[in-house]
C-alpha cells in the first residue's frame, strides 16, 4: 500500500514539474507576504476533489514560507485536514506540517496540541505514521521544553501498540530521539493492557520491542536505543543479553543493528563480568562481546559481515589472548594437527633452509589430535580475521584489513602476528584491497621487523603494473625495518629490477633507498664494496654517472654513510667526485657528509646545529632593520630594501624550513620597494604632460604590486588575519596609487568619479573585514584615511585625489610581523620532463593525451584550485580542470597529481613546443572571511549574489615544461 501511495505521489509530482508557467505567480506570492496563507486557503477551497487538493499541496510544498506566515498556513492546513477524507491528502498535509515546523525562526510549540489532537481520530495507519514523524520533527525543534517532550513521549507510548509496523517504527524513533532517561515514565496501562504497572523508563519500553514480531520494528527498536546512546544516555547493562539474542535473528538488518548495539555496550561496560553459558566460568563483557561479534564475521549476509569486521577494529580493550585467537585457525588433516604454511615458513627460516616445498608430503601432519579437544565452531573469536580476510566480498576484506590495522596499532604483539596475513593480502585479486593492505602495513611498520621470507613476498609486488601499488610499496619500504644485510641486498636488487622495468618510478625508488640507507647503516656497511664494486687490488672502471641504477646505489650508500663514519674509507676516488656531483644535483636525496682527507673537504658549513634558529634570527633581524627605513633618505632606503630582499631570497634557498617565510617577506618587501620607487619618482612634482614615461612605469608598478599581493594572499598557507590585513593594506595602497595615476591622465570625470566611489567602497570593506586588526595598523595609510573618512566621502574627486596623494606619500612602511609557520604552495612537474626531442605526433582534429605527473606541496583543496594550463605557440591557451580522482595524497600537505590532458590543434608545418604549467586558482570570496551561503529548505534557485569584492584569478605556480608536439594534417 505504502509503495502504491508513494508511486501515486511521484506520479503527481512529475506532472507538476512539467508546468513551467506556474513558476511566475509563485514569485509574486512570495513578495506579497500576507497573501501566502490566503492563497493556499483559496487553492484548497477551490479543489473539487482530492487529486486537485493533492496537486495544490505538492505545488505549495516547493516554495519556502516566511517565518511570520507559518502559523497561519499551519492553521489552514489543519482545518483542511479535518475536512479531508482522502488518506493521501491527509498524509501530505501531515508531512507538510513537519516541514513547516522546521522553518527557521518558527517555534512549533503552538501547534503541538493541534498535532496531537489530529492523532486522536485518525484511522489510516499510514497517516498515523506520518503524523508521528511530524511530532518527532516538532519535538526535535523544541529541545528546551521538557513538558512538550513528556507529552509527546506519552503519545508515542500509547501508539506503540498499533498494529501497523510503520506507526510502531515512528513511535520508537520518537522515543529514541526525545526519550529522557532521568525522568521515569508512567506507562499507560489501559493503552497496553499489560498490568506491569508503576514506573518504567524509556529504555525498558524500547527493549520490549526487541522481541516484536516484525523485523522492521525490531530494527527500529535497536536503532532507537542506539539513538539514546548517541544522545549521551547510559544504556543499562541488562540490554546486553537481549542484544546478544538478536545477533541470531533471522533478518540481516536486525543482526546488523544488534552488532552495533553489542559494540556500544562493550564500550560502556568493558569490565563487567558475564557468565559463559553451559559452564561455570565468567569472562569480561568486552571479551564476550568481542567473541560474539567475531562470530558474526562468518554471518550469512555480507552487510552484517562488513559491519562486524568494521566494529572489531575499534574494540581495543579486548584481552590479548582473545585478540590473538582471531588469527588462530588450527589446521587439521585426518585428525592430525598440521602446521600452517606461515608456521612452516617461519620454521624453515629459523632452521636456515629456504623453502624447498619439493616434497609432496611436506606439510604432512605430525601429532595425533585428541578428538575431544578439536573445536570446530570455535566459541569465541577463533579465526575471525582468517575468515574475514578470505571473504568472498571485497568490502568485507577491506573492512577486515582496516580492523586489523586499528588493532595492530594498539598492540605490538598482535601486529607481529597479523603480519603474515597482511602480507598474504598483497596477493588479493582486487587492487583496492592490495593497496589498502600495503597502506596498513606501512602504518603498523613501527612495530615490526620483516623476516627475509616476508620481505621476499612484499618485494614480489614491486613488479605490479599498477603505479599506485608500486608507490604505496615504496612508501612502505621507506618505513620498514629489516633484520639482516641479505634483506637490504634483496630489497636493493628488487628495487633495481623495478627501476629497470618501470623507469618512471625513478624518483620514488631513489627516495625509498634514501630511507633504507639512513635506517640501516650498519647493515649497509658490509655490502659497500660489493655495491660499489670496488676491489682491494684492482681499479674498477668508473660507472656511468647517468645510470639511474648507479645513482640508486649511491643514494643508498651515502645515506648510510651519514651515520656510519667508517664507511667513506671504503669509497674509491670517483665515488667522492660523484658524491659532490649528486650533492649538488640531487640535494634532497643525498645528505651532507663529513668526508675526510683526499684534499676534498666537503664538510658542509650550512649544516651546523641550530642552523634553523640562527636563520630564524637572521630573518628577524633583517625585518627589524627594514623597520628603521623611515629614518633613512630615499636612496639609502631603497638600497637597504634591495639588499634585504636579496638576502632573504638566498636564505630561502639555503634553509628549506624557512623558505616559505623568507619568500613571503621578500615578496612583501618587494611590493614596498616598488611602491616607494613609484612614489619617489620625480613625476609628482612635474606637470603631467612632461612625465608621460614615468607615468607609465608607475602604472606598471601599481599593477605589479596588485599581482604580488594576490600571490601573497593565496600562495602561502599558514597566514593569520594580521598578515592578511597587512597584505590588503598594501593592495589598498596600490589601488590608491592607481587612482591617483588615473586622475592625472584626465580621461574624463565620469570614470574618475566611479573609480573614486569604488575606492571608497574598498576602504569600507577593508574596515569591515579587519575590524579586529585595526588597532595594529596605527599610523598607517588606512588609519589616516579612516580618520579623514567623513571628509573623503563628501568631497569632490579632485580633492580626494589630492588628499590621497599626500597621505600616500606621508605614510610609512608597515612593519611585517613574522608569521609562525608559513609555507609557499609549490608544484613540480615530474612528467613530462621536457627533455624529449621526439615530437608527439598526432593527426589534426583528433586529440592526443599527454600524461602529467606533478607533486604539489602545501596546496589547500587542490581538487578545486589546481588547474593545468596548456599554452600553444600561437598564443592560444587552454585551462584544464583535472578530475578530483586524479589527486592522491601521499603525505600531509603533499599531493600528487597524475592526470592526462588532451591536446589538439590545427595542422603545423613542423614540430613546435607547447608549454604546460600548473595554475593555482583563487577567488577572494572563497576565503574564510566571506559569509557562508545559506540555503533554505526548499529551493536554491535564488542563491546569494556573489559579493562585489570577489576577485577571481589564477597564479602560475610551477615552472612551465615544454613539450614538443607535431599535429600532422589528416591524410585523405
Amino acid at each position: 500500500m505504502a509503495a502504491h501511495l508513494k508511486k501515486r505521489v511521484y506520479e503527481e509530482f512529475s506532472k507538476v514539474v512539467q508546468i513551467p508557467h506556474e513558476e511566475a505567480p509563485a514569485k509574486k506570492l512570495r513578495l506579497s507576504k500576507p497573501s501566502k496563507s490566503a492563497a493556499l486557503h483559496i487553492d484548497l477551497c477551490k479543489a473539487t476533489n482530492s487529486t486537485d487538493a493533492l496537486q495544490y499541496l505538492l505545488h505549495f510544498a516547493r516554495k519556502p514560507v516566511e517565518t511570520e506566515s507559518v502559523e497561519g498556513v499551519v492553521r489552514i492546513l489543519l482545518e483542511h485536514y479535518y475536512k479531508e477524507t482522502d488518506n493521501s491528502v491527509r498524509l501530505k498535509i501531515a508531512s507538510l506540517l513537519g516541514l513547516l515546523s522546521k522553518t527557521q525562526g518558527f517555534s512549533p510549540d503552538c501547534i503541538v496540541d493541534d498535532a496531537i489532537n489530529t492523532l486522536g481520530n485518525e484511522k489510516s495507519h499510514q497517516v498515523l505514521a506520518q503524523l508521528m514523524d511530524t511530532l518527532l520533527v516538532i519535538g526535535t525543534q523544541l529541545p528546551e521544553s521538557p513538558a512538550v517532550r513528556q507529552r509527546l513521549i506519552e503519545v508515542a507510548c500509547k501508539h506503540l501498540s498499533d498494529t501497523y509496523f510503520g506507526v510502531r517504527n515512528k513511535c520508537l524513533q520518537l522515543l529514541g530521539c526525545l526519550g529522557m532517561v532521568d525522568t521515569p515514565l508512567t506507562k499507560d496501562n489501559e493503552g497496553l493492557g499489560i498490568s506491569l504497572g508503576g514506573v518504567r523508563d524509556v529504555q525498558s519500553i524500547i527493549s520490549d520491542y526487541f522481541g516484536d514480531q516484525d523485523p522492521r520494528v525490531r530494527t527500529a527498536a535497536l536503532k532507537a536505543m542506539l539513538q539514546l546512546h548517541e544522545r549521551g544516555m547510559k544504556i543499562h547493562e541488562i540490554i546486553y543479553d537481549q542484544a546478544c539474542r538478536l545477533l541470531s535473528d533471522d533478518y540481516e538488518q536486525v543482526r546488523s543493528a544488534a552488532v552495533q548495539m553489542v559494540w556500544v555496550l562493550s564500550h560502556l561496560y568493558p569490565e563487567s563480568i558475564v557468565p559463559i553459558p553451559s559452564s561455570n566460568e565468567e569472562i569480561r563483557l568486552v571479551d564476550d562481546a568481542f567473541g560474539k561479534i567475531s562470530h558474526m564475521v562468518s554471518d550469512g549476509s555480507w552487510m552484517v559481515r562488513v559491519q562486524a569486521a568494521k566494529t572489531l577494529g575499534s574494540m581495543l580493550q579486548v584481552s590479548p589472548q582473545f585478540l590473538e585467537q582471531t588469527l588462530d585457525k588450527k589446521l587439521m588433516s585426518d585428525l592430525r594437527r598440521k602446521r600452517t604454511a606461515h608456521e612452516r615458513a617461519k620454521e624453515l627460516f629459523t632452521s636456515g633452509e629456504f623453502s624447498s616445498g619439493r616434497k609432496w608430503a611436506d606439510d604432512a601432519p605430525k601429532e595425533k589430535l585428541d578428538t575431544n579437544t578439536v573445536n570446530l565452531i570455535a566459541s569465541g573469536a577463533c579465526g575471525a580475521f582468517v575468515h574475514g580476510l578470505e571473504d568472498e566480498m571485497f568490502e568485507v576484506r577491506i573492512a577486515a584489513v582496516e580492523a586489523l590495522c586499528q588493532l595492530a596499532r594498539s598492540s605490538a604483539s598482535f601486529a607481529e602476528k597479523c603480519l603474515d596475513f597482511l602480507v598474504d593480502m598483497f596477493n588479493d585479486e582486487i587492487e583496492e584491497v592490495r593497496l589498502q593492505s600495503i597502506h596498513v602495513l606501512r602504518e603498523i611498520s613501527t612495530h615490526i621487523t620483516l623476516r627475509e621470507d616476508q620481505l621476499d613476498t612484499v618485494l614480489a609486488v614491486l613488479e605490479d603494473s599498477s603505479r599506485d601499488i608500486r608507490e604505496a610499496l615504496h612508501e612502505l619500504i621507506c618505513y620498514t625495518n629489516v633484520s639482516t644485510k641479505e634483506c637490504v641486498q634483496l630489497a636493493l636488487l628488487e628495487l633495481l629490477k623495478n627501476l629497470n622495468k618501470y623507469p618512471t618510478d625513478r624518483n620514488s625508488v631513489w627516495k625509498c633507498l634514501k630511507f633504507m640507507g639512513s635506517r640501516h647503516p650498519t647493515l649497509v656497511l658490509p655490502l659497500v664494496p660489493e655495491l660499489l664494486s670496488t676491489h682491494p687490488y684492482f681499479d674498477t672502471p668508473e660507472p656511468d654517472m647517468d645510470d639511474p641504477a648507479y645513482i640508486a646505489v649511491l643514494v643508498l650508500v651515502f645515506n648510510a654513510a651519514k651515520s656510519c663514519p667508517t664507511m667513506p674509507a671504503l669509497f674509491s676516488d670517483h665515488t667522492f667526485r660523484h658524491y659532490s656531483y649528486l650533492r649538488d644535483s640531487l640535494s634532497h636525496l643525498v645528505p651532507p657528509l663529513r668526508l675526510p682527507g683526499n684534499g676534498l673537504d666537503l664538510v658542509d658549513s650550512r649544516c651546523g646545529l641550530g642552523s634553523v634558529e640562527s636563520a630564524q634570527l637572521f630573518l628577524q633581524q633583517s625585518l627589524n632593520r627594514v623597520s628603521t627605513i623611515q629614518n633613512l633618505e630615499a636612496p639609502g632606503a631603497q638600497d637597504l630594501l634591495d639588499f634585504t630582499i636579496r638576502d632573504l631570497r638566498r636564505l630561502g634557498e639555503l634553509q628549506t624550513e624557512l623558505a616559505g617565510a623568507a619568500d613571503f617577506c621578500a615578496t612583501y618587501l618587494r611590493c614596498q620597494l616598488l611602491l616607494m620607487k613609484a612614489l619617489q619618482d620625480k613625476l609628482w612634482n612635474m606637470a603631467v604632460p612632461l612625465c608621460l614615461k614615468q607615468n607609465v612605469t608607475a602604472t606598471a608598478a601599481a599593477q605589479q604590486i596588485l599581482e604580488e599581493t594576490y600571490k601573497l594572499e593565496f600562495l602561502y598557507s599558514g597566514l593569520d588575519s594580521r598578515q592578511v590585513a597587512t597584505i590588503h593594506h598594501v593592495r589598498l595602497q596600490a589601488k590608491a596609487l592607481q587612482l591617483i595615476l588615473t586622475a592625472r591622465t584626465r580621461q574624463g570625470l565620469d570614470s574618475l568619479i566611479s573609480s573614486c566611489e569604488k575606492f571608497l567602497q574598498d576602504i569600507e570593506s577593508f574596515q569591515r573585514l579587519f575590524l579586529t586588526e585595526l588597532p595594529h595598523l596605527q599610523d598607517s595609510f588606512v588609519d589616516k584615511l579612516l580618520e579623514l573618512m567623513p571628509r573623503l566621502s563628501s568631497c569632490k574627486p579632485v580633492e580626494l585625489v589630492k588628499i590621497l596623494q599626500t597621505t600616500l606619500r606621508q605614510s610609512g612602511l608597515l612593519q611585517l610581523r613574522l608569521p609562525e609557520q608559513i609555507h609557499r604552495a609549490t608544484a613540480t612537474i615530474i612528467e613530462p620532463t621536457g627533455e624529449s626531442d621526439n615530437p608527439l605526433r598526432f593527426t589534426t582534429g583528433l586529440v592526443v593525451a599527454l600524461d602529467i605527473d606533478a607533486t604539489l606541496e602545501h596546496v589547500q583543496d587542490p581538487q578545486n584550485n589546481v588547474k593545468v594550463q596548456v599554452l600553444y605557440p600561437d598564443g592560444q591557451s587552454h585551462v584544464i580542470h583535472p578530475k578530483p580522482g586524479d589527486f592522491r595524497k601521499p603525505g600531509p600537505d603533499r599531493h600528487r597529481l597524475i592526470t592526462q590532458v588532451y591536446l589538439s590543434h590545427t595542422a603545423w608545418t613542423e614540430p613546435s613546443q607547447i608549454e604546460v604549467r600548473l595554475l593555482l586558482a583563487y577567488s577572494s570570496s572563497s576565503t574564510s572571511l566571506s559569509s557562508p551561503s545559506k540555503l533554505g529548505w526548499s529551493d536554491s534557485i535564488d542563491s546569494l549574489p556573489t559579493p562585489e569584492t570577489a576577485v577571481e584569478g589564477t597564479i602560475p605556480f610551477s615552472k612551465p615544461v615544454k613539450v614538443y608536439i607535431m599535429p600532422k594534417p589528416a591524410r585523405r
Partner: protein, 601 residues
Amino acid sequence: MPEIKVTPLGAGQDVGRSCILVSIGGKNIMLDCGMHMGYNDDRRFPDFSYITQNGRLTDFLDCVIISHFHLDHCGALPFMSEMVGYDGPIYMTHPTKAICPILLEDFRKITVDKKGETNFFTSQMIKDCMKKVVPLNLHQTVQVDDELEIKAYYAGHVLGAAMVHIKVGSESVVYTGDYNMTPDRHLGAAWIDKCRPDILISESTYATTIRDSKRCRERDFLKKVHESIERGGKVLIPVFALGRAQELCILLETFWERMNLKAPIYFSTGLTEKANHYYKLFITWTNQKIRKTFVQRNMFEFKHIKAFDRSYADNPGPMVVFATPGMLHAGQSLQIFKKWAGNEKNMVIMPGYCVQGTIGHKILNGQRKLEMEGRSTLDVKLQVEYMSFSAHADAKGIMQLIRMAEPRNMLLVHGEAVKMEFLKGKIEQEFSIDCYMPANGETVTVTTNPSVPVDISLNLLKREMALGGPLPDPKKPRTMHGTLIMKENSLKLVSSEQALKELGLNEHQLRFTCRVQLQDPHSDTDTLHRIYTHLKSVLKGYTIQHLPDGTVMVESIVIKVSSSTEDPNTKVLLLSWSYQDEDLGSFLSTLLKKGLPSGLC
C-alpha cells in the same frame, strides 16, 4: 507421524557414485545419479533394482535432481534414463546442463572407443537424456507438481554447482551436493538462507580436515611459477579439463597481467575449449570480481593463455603449459613431461591428488628414476612441486553451513566412514541435533512434526484479538475457543455459533451445578448478602449482581441459597454455570467451600 526416508544408493560412507533416494511427504526424489571411478563392472553405477526389479523407474520417482556436472554426480544419468528407463523430469542448473553432456560424451568415448566396452549408452542416448532436463535458476522456486517444490542455492565447488532445497508442505530436505565455503579465483562461496530443513544432507569429503588459508597456497603457487619462468625454465601443470583448471588459468592470467610478464601460457586443447566457452557465458555464476569486471573484460577471455600445439613443447625459452590429464598417467601431459624431465630448470606442478601407480604419484614421492614402457628409464631432473587446490568444504565449512541453515537433523554422505564418525560426534555435540551416516542401501527414517495449516475465520480472530492483550506475541502459544471443522480435505477453525449454523445443528446448553454446604447462622437473605459482599471484595473487575429474586449473579453464574432442612444453620448454596464459564465456576465453588470469612457483616 509423517516420516522422511533417506536411502543412499551410492555415496553412503563412500566417495563416488552419488545417488540418494529421498521419500518426503509421499514423493520420491533421486538426488544425483553418479558413477564410481574406482570400478569398471556393475558396481560402477548405482543399483537401480533397489527401486524396482522390473519396469520403468518413472512410476516410482517423481523427479531426479543433479547437483553439478562432475561424473561421480551425473555419470549414470543416461544409463538410468535411457537404459533402465525413466521419463520424468530431471532438474539441473543451466551451466550443468550445458557442460554435463560434454563430459558424458568424453566418458562414453573412453569407455567404448578406448576400452572397447559394449552394452554402454550411446551418444544418441545422451542427447535423449538431455531432452528430459528441466533447467533451474538460482533461488527460483520450481513447482515439480502441486505439492513438491524445489529451489536451488549457490554451492561454489564448480561452475553451476547447486544445493537444492526440496519442500513438500512444511517438510523439507536440503541436499548440498559438493560445495565450497571459501571463495576462489573464479567462484564464490556457498550460501543458503535460514531455511531450517528437517534434514540437511551434506557431503563430508573433508570431515576431519581444517584447511590452511587459500592465499598462502595461491601465493606459493605463483611464486614458484614466477621463479621458474625468470630462470628461463618451462613449467608443466597437469590438470583435469574442468574446474580447477579454470581457476588456475585465472590465477595465472591475472598474475601475468599484474606483473607484466611476457612468457607464453598454453592450454592443451580438447574438450576444454568448448567448456571455456560456457564459462564465458555463465558469468552470473562466478565470483564478485569476475561479475563486476566482465563488462570491461570477460576474465575467461584469456589474453595470455593460448591454445597449445604439440610442436610448441620444443620451443626455446620459458613457458607455462596446462595439459591433461591431471595424474600424468597418459596423454599429452605425459608426453610433455617426458620431453622436459631432463632439464633441472623446468618444473612440474601437481595441483591435486594422484592415485597410486600413476607417474604423478611416483614423482611426488620423490622417485627420480622412472621406468617407462620399453624398458627405458627416465631421469627426472626437473623440480616437482605439489600444490593442493581443492574445492570442497572443510570441517569448519560444513559446520558453518549447518549454522546457516539450522537443520533439525543432519545426514552425512560422500565421505569416508571413519571421518564421518568424527564429524558426527562434533555436530551432535555442538548443535545437539541428530546426525546420521547411512551406508549404501541403508535407510534412515526421520519422523517430522509438520505443522498443519488451518483456516481461521476472520470474525473469530478479531474477537480473540479484542479479548486479548495489545499485540499477538508470535513466540508464545495462546489458547482460544473455536470449533474445528474438517470437511473435504480442508481444515477450518470457526466460532461455535457459526459451526452450528453451518452444520445445521441445534445448540445445546451444558450447565454444571454444584451444591456447597456452608455453616452460617444467619438467615437466607443475609447469607446471600454476605456472599455478595464477600465475592465483591474478592472478585474485582467482574460484574456481580444481587438480583431481587434472591440470587447472586457473577457474570453468568447463578448462586442461590437455601437452608438445609435438618439444620437451619447449614446453608446449601446452589451454583450453576455454563461450560464456557468453567474456569470461573470452579474457582467460585472452591472459594465458597472454604466458607465465608467471619469478619463480614
